[in-house]
């Protein structure tokens, strides 16, 4: 039961997949967060009516499966626009938009959680809109938004397992390739699952801790 055909080379192969997972996640989360902050602030600033088109577009990213988003983006950029993009680029673009759609919601929630009176006080003390945003809203909104943002980042990492459809060999895909070759699904899947768990679990715990700590003040 305990003998295995797994060699050191296979581990390197898995490590490459894991690195791909991390790379896609980091790029998408950073780009998605920047976009999400812009979108979220815009939505809050212009009100529900003028932001309706943006809300609609962002809602689409949250209402259709990521798998279909990836296939559609691949088909659209590749066959319709005839752009020669790598699978990694497409994966990062789609995941960034996916992340931005959720992040905009979190950012909006964070800004809304700052009491209007506090902001009015800041403005009447002579702070500009930008100063108010940076010195008053940012610290207060971060407290509300950070725990959910951690959840979102972990969600993007887990969902990055789907980028195999655009020919990116990330961790789960490389695991599957090895399964096909070695025929030891349980062991390989355990290794793969353990990797996701080891990254996700401590961060999720940390998010829960922040949420608990920051909600009683």
């Amino acid at each position: 039961m305990f003998d295995t055909a797994l060699t050191a080379n296979d581990f390197i192969f898995l490590a490459k997949g894991a690195w791909m997972t991390i790379l896609v996640t980091i790029v998408s989360v950073i780009a998605g967060t920047v976009l999400g902050i812009v979108f979220g602030t815009f939505r809050y600033q212009v009100g529900p009516i003028w932001a309706a088109p943006l809300t609609f577009v962002l809602d689409i990213f949250r209402s259709i499966p990521l798998l279909i988003q990836l296939v559609l983006a691949n088909a659209f950029l590749g066959t319709v626009l005839r752009l020669n993009l790598s699978g990694l680029t497409i994966a990062c673009i789609v995941l960034s938009m996916y992340c931005a759609a959720y992040c905009a919601e979190i950012v909006r929630g964070g800004i809304e959680a700052v009491p209007t009176t506090t902001r009015r006080a800041a403005r009447s003390l002579g702070l500009t809109w930008w100063q108010d945003m940076r010195e008053i809203v940012l610290p207060l909104a971060t407290r509300v938004a950070l725990p959910s943002w951690i959840g979102l980042a972990l969600g993007v990492m887990k969902d990055s397992a789907l980028v195999y459809v655009v020919q990116v060999t990330e961790l789960l895909r490389s695991t599957q390739i090895l399964i096909t070759r070695l025929q030891e699904p349980l062991l390989l899947l355990m290794i793969c699952g353990a990797f996701y768990f080891v990254i996700s679990f401590p961060l999720a715990r940390f998010g829960g801790y922040l949420e608990k700590r920051w909600s009683h003040d």
């Binding site: 499966p65 279909i68 988003q69 559609l72 066959t79 969902d159 030891e184 999720a204």
Partner: protein, 221 residues
């Protein structure tokens, strides 16, 4: 405008097949949701039981479900379980995978909801003569389900989206699977998947709106 000829007609001709697929998708999502809620209630009872092993079981389930990709869970249900000698067909592995995921997330939601229900209610129910299970069933459970109605709706939408992962274990009767097969047949990738995307969008919107209507009717007071 584009250097590409769209063939919407060809793709639209396949719409009936895709709608059949959408029906299967909804069936799986609904079934996994019902089973998921049942399991999550059982897991929550385990957590409240005060028995270490049972509470630990719930904890392990919830953490694995929440900290690994859904696709991994479906693989596990298909390939992982198969190496133990239990062979599930694609439909069952997809169902098991999504149900596992749903139960984990819902159990966590229920835990949040329980915090909103004062402990004194259970004690009052117990001192009125209800047993531990009776107090849970008649006093805590209805409130818990009510508080977590909105998260449950979200989870239902997630379940719909997760059914698209079934294709990785060979499922070909759900919406994504059908679209994939048609794509192999006609090579109208963009058109077919755009239609599938619209169907998914409509399904999720109908669920969200329907849930809102049901909530307005159920929680009038």
């Amino acid at each position: 405008m584009f250097n590409y000829t769209f063939q919407w007609k060809q793709a639209m001709a396949r719409l009936p097949q895709m709608l059949d697929g959408a029906l299967v998708t909804m069936q799986i999502a609904l079934l996994s949701m019902l089973l998921g809620i049942l399991l999550a209630v059982v897991l929550t009872m385990f957590r409240l039981s005060g028995i270490r092993v049972l509470a630990g079981f719930t904890k392990t389930w919830v953490e694995i479900a929440r900290n690994t990709p859904a696709l991994f869970q479906i693989y596990m249900a298909h390939f992982g379980v198969a190496s133990l000698g239990i062979y599930l067909n694609p439909f069952l592995s997809l169902l098991v995978g999504i149900t596992f995921n749903n139960a984990g997330y819902l159990a966590e939601n229920f835990r949040g909801a329980l915090k909103a229900i004062p402990d004194t209610q259970t004690r009052a129910a117990r001192s009125l003569g209800l047993g531990a299970v009776g107090a849970f069933r008649h006093v805590v459970l209805p409130q818990m389900l009510r508080i977590s109605f909105l998260p449950m709706t979200n989870q239902m939408v997630w379940a719909i989206l997760m059914t698209s992962l079934g294709v990785t274990v060979g499922m070909n009767t759900d919406l994504y699977g059908v679209t994939q097969d048609l794509n192999a047949l006609t090579f109208r990738t963009f058109e077919l998947f755009a239609i599938a995307a619209v169907i998914f969008y409509v399904i999720t919107k109908v669920i969200t709106l329907g849930a809102r209507l049901i909530a307005a009717r159920l929680f009038r007071y």
